[in-house]
């Protein structure tokens, strides 16, 4: 039997047991997983383990970098019939293009924005993160790019290329008295929220659905007036994939509306890049409510960052965190 290896975040759709069983029943392909816990680590794993992976999940902000390094190959959409259902804004998103070719199949998208404890006043702006009403009750996502994006949105700049980093830093440092902790995983977020350690937080849209639906946490996802931070995750085939054909079969299955319906309703998922899949959900489904299709037109999606900008973001975020600790 053919076997493929998928490199992804743990518990992020591709490794659902029921799905893999169905996929195997359908195609005879067995799927095993390896996980990463940060995007640079994903790239390192690709680089240091040629031939180990057949499918890899890449945030579209990293796709061009991976393509540039020759780690992934362009997608042969002929092998992915379900791609016909993909929203065109996503399927052909600029982030996925490199040298005129598309290197990834848009899979899911989501928004990083605010989550608030049910019953509290819904924030209208990211400025709520500095509101004394939330003193010691705020959690931030410990990620430089997200952090800078919020600071940029709040200071009215382009989140992918803010011109005034100092202003970004000042905005972020202004949250100091409110920040209780910096979360780095959804699990940590759930447990802390359950323990009532914070009320207002930067959070992921899909995760908010899972928290509410599966963990029964009283959380509401809010996109304030500055807008959310959009991201698009795509599935790619590494250049060294031993089973590129089977990999495409798997990717095709991953954007199948049937799979998505089950994933989103049983487990909780971000928004599918497949319009058909989204439509399969009931209209009042939480997932559909949060991930309004309209956002696709207006929302800024995280884009690739040149090395020096990335380094500047990292250093700024480090400086901001140091100011929180001091």
């Amino acid at each position: 039997a053919t076997k493929i290896t998928v490199l992804n975040w743990q518990g992020y759709g591709t490794d659902e047991k029921w799905a893999l069983e169905k996929f195997k029943a359908k195609t005879g392909i067995e799927v095993v997983h390896d996980y990463f816990s940060s995007e640079p680590e994903m790239l390192t794993k690709l680089r240091t383990n040629p031939g180990a992976y057949d499918v890899v999940l890449i945030n579209s902000a990293r796709t061009q970098q991976a393509a540039n390094e020759g780690l992934i190959v362009p997608v042969d959409f002929a092998g992915v019939p379900n791609s016909a259902n993909l929203s065109p804004e996503l399927k052909d998103h600029a982030n996925l293009k490199f040298g005129g070719k598309t290197f990834g199949v848009a899979w899911v998208w989501g928004i990083t924005s605010l989550a608030i404890r049910e019953g509290d006043k819904k924030p209208e702006s990211y400025a709520a993160l500095a509101d004394p009403a939330f003193k010691g009750k705020v959690a931030l996502f410990d990620d430089a790019v997200t952090g800078v994006a919020i600071g940029a949105l709040l200071s009215g700049q382009d989140m992918n290329n803010p011109s005034d980093l100092k202003a970004v830093g000042d905005k972020l440092k202004g949250f100091k008295d409110n920040v209780k902790l910096l979360w780095s995983s959804e699990d940590q977020w759930n447990k802390s929220f359950a323990a009532k350690e914070f009320d207002l937080s930067v959070y992921w849209s899909g995760a908010a659905v899972r928290s509410k639906r599966n963990s029964k946490l009283p959380v509401e996802f809010v996109v304030p007036k500055e807008g959310g931070i959009g991201w698009l995750d795509n599935l790619c085939v590494p250049a060294s994939a031993p089973n590129a054909k089977a990999a495409l079969d798997f990717i095709n299955y991953m954007i199948d509306p049937d799979f998505y319906f089950e994933w989103a309703t049983k487990v909780g998922a971000p928004a599918s890049a497949s319009a058909a899949a989204m439509e399969k959900l009931p209209a009042d489904d939480l997932n559909r409510v949060i991930h309004k299709q309209a956002y696709l037109k207006t929302m800024t999606i995280q884009s690739a960052l040149p090395d020096d900008r990335r380094e500047a973001f990292n250093n700024l975020w480090q400086e901001v965190k140091a100011s929180y600790a001091g």
Partner: protein, 305 residues
């Protein structure tokens, strides 16, 4: 047989006898080789590689052209907030090491003086056993204990139902507590090794000369256990400075240390050269501290009247 065949001179007071054939040095090398070859391959060569990385402009894994530079060693100068983080980390290391030293020294003393035989062996194993559970799980369990409304509060409220919360999760003391928990057994072990060799009669002699327990402690036990305390301090202080799990999980907002900065460089920012340069710089600082410290100690113990 001629009398003057040169034989490798390996005689020692403890005795490596004359042998025909294999000279003693070959046997010595054969004994040392597995360990040191292993360390060379698995630790020293990789670390050397990392040391070379620390002079590169970027992690030599992507497409970025590699240029050798000293810029990462200037980070403390170009990013002044790092100095503050380093200072806080050193302070945290100091408090964790001091707490370990105090708690561990007395535990070792109690082991060496108040227990014997089987009881002592059992206690030593019991002290080691928490290490057999995952460090992450242990630290995570501490959050359960320390958070507001956690086990500590529950315990308090079972005695004083109306008391407020004494939970101190997401504070520096919480980080120190977690670190002390993780490194205490090393300190106990090294102090214990130093303390068991102290002869009872030395303590009795001090007592017969009029010394009370605090004098015996300060003038006899601590100085004699100093080698153990120092080893324990190195085994605690150095890894504590580099710790990132405990600060992240127990420190919340205040959990920003050199360890987390370095970890971020490796896992988030993908700036290995900077991470390595920061590590080696911290290591140098720590070694300098220990060198100064032990120099001062040596001078003091030599000059005290």
């Amino acid at each position: 047989m001629p009398a003057d065949i040169p034989v490798a001179s390996t005689g020692t007071p403890s005795g490596v006898p004359a042998r025909r054939g294999i000279p003693g040095s070959v046997a010595t090398i054969a004994l040392l080789l597995p360990s040191y070859a292993w360390l060379l391959l698995a630790v020293f060569l990789p670390l050397c590689t990392m040391f070379v990385f620390s002079f590169m402009n970027a992690t030599p894994m992507g497409k970025t052209p590699i240029v050798f530079t000293l810029k990462h060693y200037q980070a403390f100068y170009t990013q002044p907030y790092l100095v503050k983080i380093a200072w806080d980390s050193l302070l945290m290391g100091f408090w964790a090491t001091l707490s370990c030293a105090i708690l561990g020294f007395f535990a070792a003393l109690a082991l060496a003086r108040a227990t014997t035989g089987r009881v002592r062996e059992t206690l030593l194993i019991l002290i080691l056993l928490p290490f057999w559970t995952n460090g992450l799980v242990r630290v995570f369990s501490w959050t359960m204990v320390l958070r507001e409304g956690g086990f500590l509060d529950m315990l308090l409220h079972s005695v004083l139902p109306d008391a407020g919360s004494i939970g101190f999760l997401y504070t520096r003391p919480a980080i120190v507590l977690g670190l002390v928990h993780g490194y205490l057994p090393y300190m106990i072990l090294t102090c214990y090794i130093a303390l068991v060799t102290i002869d009872d009669s030395i303590l009795e002699a001090a007592e017969s000369l009029g010394a009370r327990w605090w004098t015996i402690l300060g003038k006899i036990l601590v100085p004699l256990a100093l080698p153990g305390l120092t080893t324990g301090a190195v085994l605690t202080f150095v890894p504590v400075i580099g710790a990132f799990m405990e600060p992240r999980i127990l420190g919340g907002r205040v959990g920003v240390t050199m360890g987390t900065v370095i970890e971020d460089q490796f896992t988030q920012a993908f700036n290995w050269p900077l991470g390595a340069a920061l590590s080696f710089t911290m290591l140098a600082v720590v070694l300098a501290i220990f060198a100064t410290f032990s120099g001062v100690l040596r001078r003091n113990s030599g000059a005290a009247a």
